[in-house]
């Protein structure tokens, strides 16, 4: 059942009634909000100002917006210098270029240097669609979460993206925020709790349905990004088949909320991770690292299975690469079947 404390929208499962917005839109709003709160906030963009929705900030605070041209390495370096001086710089581009192309500058000049630059990678995931594999960033979570000091946040909808943008602005750390191009359902609200490093249970096992009492017919789905909505739909459909699923929004991939993952493993006895990213090195790997050290249970991985994407529309690609509602349901059944 939906966790009431998570304050999700009413009519959650009726997609036709939900507002559709891309997470990059929430980022654009978050930039303006952070900019209003603090004059130290500056935004740098590599020739993708409208596309990353940095243009609202640029219009409102032109003196604090810097056009960098197609030069992501220099963008990371200039931001590093500005943060070193005392500013709070956001750098906006597509995730394949930033943190893709400028990975070394992010590692050495932002993270080892320990200056609070905020890297925003838009157009992450397979849902980028028709642009094809060159522009579908599927490795960025792995690239960022392996670097010491880097915080990694993957918002599940536009409302959460706005909160995440403001939160990383003031966390004092190098941070990565991952954004999507495609519109997706807005299912959280302003009241939904959001704290960096703290995962939220969106759907819990009904009381008395924990592993011991439900004869093992339960699973926890841990996800991040827009696919979390598919996870909630899958959980609802599975419930009708007598399978109960917990759904956890692990928006912060690093530092990951170990406590809630261990709790989910103990309660549900099986885990499915869901992300629009390579299964190697992303959220699924982060969850597996926690479980293998603390409380190993069967785990299945929804994500890109070590391959590149291709052109197509978003829904087509999500389905073709096994990240749709049906695929999540199958993965849940598989994970449960593996319980001893």
């Amino acid at each position: 059942m939906i966790n009431k404390e998570s304050r999700l929208v009413d009519n959650l499962l009726d997609k036709s009634k939900l507002e559709m917005l891309a997470t990059r839109v929430g980022y654009g709003k978050g930039l303006v909000e952070a900019g209003e709160k603090d004059p130290r906030v500056v935004v740098l963009c590599a020739d993708l100002t409208e596309s990353t929705h940095s243009h609202w900030f640029a219009e409102k605070f032109p003196e604090r917006f810097i056009e960098m041209g197609v030069a992501e390495q220099n963008m990371a370096l200039v931001a590093s210098g500005m943060a070193n001086y005392g500013k709070i710089p956001f750098i906006s581009s597509y995730a394949t270029f930033s943190p893709g192309r400028n990975n070394e500058q992010i590692r050495t000049n932002i993270c080892l240097n320990n200056v609070p630059v905020k890297v925003a990678g838009s157009h992450a995931g397979i849902s980028v669609g028709p642009d094809g594999a060159t522009h579908q960033a599927l490795e960025d979570i792995a690239l960022m979460r392996v670097i010491p000091k880097m915080v990694v946040v993957v918002p599940c909808d536009a409302v959460e993206a706005q909160k995440a943008t403001v939160a990383v602005a003031f966390n004092g750390s190098p941070s990565y925020i991952r954004l999507a191009r495609e519109k997706s359902p807005v299912f959280t609200t302003k009241e939904t709790p959001f704290e960096i490093g703290k995962a939220e249970i969106f759907r819990s096992l009904a009381s008395g349905e924990s592993r011991s009492k439900a004869s093992g017919n339960s699973c926890a789905i841990i996800g991040c990004g827009m696919l979390l909505y598919n996870a909630l739909v899958a959980a609802e459909e599975l419930s009708k088949e007598g399978i109960e699923c917990m759904v956890i929004n692990s928006h912060t991939v690093k530092p990951i909320d170990e406590e809630i993952i261990i709790y989910a493993a103990k309660e549900a006895g099986a885990i499915v991770t869901v992300e629009e990213h390579q299964v190697n090195g992303g959220l699924g790997s982060a969850v597996a690292e926690v479980l293998s050290k603390n409380y190993p249970v069967p785990q299945e991985y929804i994500g890109m299975q070590d391959r590149f994407g291709e052109s197509g529309n978003s829904d087509e690609l999500i389905k073709a690469f096994g990240m749709d509602v049906g695929s999540i349901k199958e993965a849940v059944k598989k994970a449960i079947a593996r319980k001893k």
Binding site: V42, E63, R64, I66, M68, G69, A71, Q73, N74, A76, L77, V78, A79, S80, G81, M82, A83, N84, Y85, G86, K87, P89, E104, Q105, T108, N109, L112, N113, N114
Partner: protein, 287 residues
Amino acid sequence: MSQYISEEKTQELEIKANEARQLLIEMLTVAGSGHTAGPLGMADIFTAMYFHVLNHDPKNPEWEERDRLILSNGHITPIRYVMMAMSGYFPLEELKTLRKFGTRLQGHPERERLPGVETTSGPLGSGLGQAAGIAYASRMDKKKVRTYCLMSDGEQDAGATWESAMFIGKNKLNNLTAVIDRNNIQIDGMTENVMPLESLKAKYEAFNWNVLEVDGHNIEQFVDAIEEAKAIYEKPTVIIAHTIPGKGIKEIEFDYKWHGIPPKPEEAKKFLSELRTLGGKIVSEHQ
């Protein structure tokens, strides 16, 4: 005759640069690894920076109004450490910890470990962009901070250097002065064989920079160029400083093999004697 620095001051700095070279040889020998040629070649410029040009306070390295010295080619950091110790950032004794486990004097400098180094550096092509960010931010805040970026010639191979050069030229960051250590060597050999750079002057001019060229061992010329750059408001300035790698020790001068190795103790003895006697011109009291 310079209008910016007296003859007496110049002579004082030349003596300091010689002392710095001695400390450098001693610290590298104790460390047993590190770069020798580049730091020796930049000893005169670093001495001019730390004891004449920079507006800084060694007792208060985080002072907001300080000039920023960004060392892009972090591998020549030993000469910066020597300067910092000589000017009072930390005790001279600490120089002997270079590259040892637990030291603040890392093989390549780290901002988090040692206040005053400004940026973590070493990977080439990354200093100019950071200097640009500092210069841009301080201009936004209308501060009279000046940012200096010291670079090697080898790192002019790097694409990021030119991204940064383009950005600085576009934004006319005249509160930034870059200095290129034009010593013509890099790890794999002579720069013009590895990847030809000339004409460096024409390249920077095409990127909307003011370009000055000096003898990097002539402190008076260098100081004049630094002051001239401050008077130019329309453009950023880069000073191409022609230097001799290994300057001050004949056996090391011009030899690219000395890029990344330290002297052995026996060699160090000979080199220190050469420095103390100014190449045999004076008889040392120690002989």
